[in-house]
Symmetry: C2
Subunit: 397 residues, 2 copies
């Protein structure tokens, strides 16, 4: 039997699914993966930093020593020794984080989905930075919130602007370190003000921190979760300090919330692969990241410097940009008259790619902005690409 | 700074999160993992069947040959060669399945979540078997449907009972092979009737098939997706034929739906680990499952036979049960006067565990039912445990 149906199903999607859109960045990436393109569009870490041999040895050891456990179903909350290691790494002199507060997730994108699922009702107000991380906007959008944008300036999120939009808000989502897309970081004073404001408003504060360890200039800034563990939900990831393709991240949240996130995860995918968690624990438990992360910082720092130097040399005076001290991105503001989407068309024709800034805004976007990533491009190609971009911008002025 | 908050946040969960409950089975498993307990409660495959060395060799080879690709971010739809292999394995003489119809997921539980997300609005009618798979009820519940139960008899789902409950239904979820929890399979005639009924009603039919390959008595039954590829959404998994802890499954769906599921997956976790997919492809591509699956069938078949024989010997005549020809479960119906939850209390006191049947019903549950799994218990322990259960049931009569 094989029904050749003259009236096939007309798929009726849920209301939440009708708004689903592919990430604009993922679409651009498809175009820009051709080898002749100098692509500043990527958000991917450099594979040159992946400790492949170390990972290979760890997979081998875990499968040899505990293969049947590693390949069996595991607990939803995660592999206990890794959760304890993470709790310890987040604890400070003043603030003890418990292993019970840690939920392992399949990459921190999953944490965004679970947080949206558990905290957002249709029409709930959700506060985000201007601009904000596109993947978070995508994940939260599924649960149909009303986004309100919190003001930012050259120093990032402006805490004093929160009160004006806080009424009825269910959470504030912030990326305090080398933000994606702007590369901006919050000062210690702003962090304190942000935490105090959210605590006063009883507003859950999401601290998304994939890039915090990638500081080129010194010790990472204090984490906000350590300032107010009862009100801050911290999201961490192994994607930028180890490798992204294994899909491993974690959430640290107050106990009532983390238990609810765990139930949501159980319904969503039962648990994150045991083997992956055991391997990552095997890799990190003896301090490997302390040797490894400085090599990533050095590579990205060199390439960031090359890009900033080339921009200073080649970009017209009417263009401004951020000077990140870590992370993976530089944010460019063009004169108002230039539409970054239009610039992208001419740039691709000249074999250079970047991501226009507009999709990173929850509400009305600034069309004269764009994001550049320097992490996967060697310095000489960075200089070549920036020189081309500079000429194209000048021609549009 | 460390805010010691006298008025901590009172967490306001979304409406959908308020109904989240831990799987009753997962709670029972915590109790029954003590080594002195003879546990028929598990739903876990036997680790004796895990091809650990084969997996270890594949991890080694993939990381050696293509480590930097395997550890980088990957496409949301999945690793192309594995998708092509799956499409080929699902294709029949009459029905060609395209690789584009396959979406790789992080275990088939994730397929349930994505299907719920994309097809279920609050209050949507969702049709399920009586009883049905608990994980599906959990996953769909998040999206707050109204469940309607389709009648079943000793031969499983009764297609002629669908029309009566089909009005406004958004999908029908069925597990046609060695169903969890009953172990029942649909006959070929019932499959055809089910597919024809759903096609006539333009009702999407979910064919969840984790156990189909585990037939003890002969060739697997034809898949419903091959009978009506425009209307059937097929869910497959590597958990029961390879290993579950890696979290790898797949959905095969008509193109308009699979693209929407892909967008939902992108927002939920970007993609499933590349490394896992490349390793599984490395393991399966040359026909390994054709040698491996018969060894699982032989082990489970022996233990199923031991359990059925012991039940015939030790269970009172007033008790009835299914006689599965594959899969992992036997379903027991006690006399109406016995509550399986009450039996569980006395059983655990006697060092035997099982799962009461009531949680498997979407609506009012039959409290005199229970599920037994034979796959992780050796035959002599099966006989010992069944003898104890038989005595306890007799004592309650």
């Amino acid at each position: 039997m094989n029904i050749q149906d003259p009236h096939p199903i007309k798929w009726q999607f849920s209301e939440r699914a009708q708004g689903l859109q592919s990430s604009f960045i993922r679409e651009i990436l498809k175009i820009t993966q051709r080898p002749e393109i100098i692509s500043f569009a990527g958000g991917l870490p450099s594979p040159a930093t992946f400790p492949v041999e170390r990972m290979r040895a760890a997979y081998d050891k875990v499968l040899l020593d505990a293969g049947k456990v590693a390949l069996q179903y595991g607990p939803t909350d995660g592999f206990a020794p890794l959760r304890a290691w993470i709790a310890d790494s987040l604890s400070t002199e003043g603030t003890k984080i418990l292993p019970e507060q840690i939920l392992m997730v399949s990459g921190s994108q999953q944490a965004l989905d679970l947080i949206g699922k558990v905290l957002i009702d249709e029409g709930s107000r959700v506060l985000v930075e201007t601009p904000s991380y596109l993947g978070a906007l995508q994940a939260f959008s599924v649960y149909r919130p009303e986004f309100a944008s919190v003001d930012t300036d050259d120093d990032g999120l402006v805490p004093s602007s929160i009160d004006a939009v806080a009424k009825g808000a269910r959470l504030l989502y912030a990326l305090p370190n080398f933000q994606n897309p702007t590369g901006r970081s919050l000062s210690l004073a702003r962090r304190r003000e942000l935490v105090e404001t959210c605590a006063r408003l009883r507003l859950p504060l999401i601290e998304d921190d994939p890039y915090g360890a990638l500081s080129y200039t010194g010790a990472p800034m204090p984490k906000m979760v350590a300032m107010h563990p009862d009100g801050v939900i911290y999201m961490g990831s192994f994607s930028k300090v180890l490798t992204p393709g294994i899909r491993l991240g974690y959430v640290c949240a107050p106990l009532p919330l983390v238990r609810r996130l765990e139930l949501a995860k159980q319904a969503a995918d039962l648990h994150t692969a045991q083997l992956t968690q055991m391997v990552v624990y095997e890799v990190v438990k003896d301090g490997f990241l302390d040797e490894h992360i400085p090599t990533i910082r050095a590579l990205y720092g060199r390439q960031c410097r090359a890009m900033l130097d080339a921009m200073a040399e080649h970009f017209p005076a009417a263009v401004s940009w951020t000077k990140p001290e870590g992370g993976m991105f530089i944010w460019v503001t063009l004169p108002k008259s230039i539409d970054a989407m239009q610039l992208l068309d001419t740039a691709i024709a000249s074999r250079v790619a970047f991501v226009p800034g507009a999709p990173f805004y929850a509400n009305a976007g600034e069309t004269n902005t764009l994001r550049l990533s320097f992490v996967t491009v060697p310095p000489e190609r960075i200089r070549e690409g920036i020189a081309i971009l500079g000429k194209l911008i000048a021609a549009l002025l």
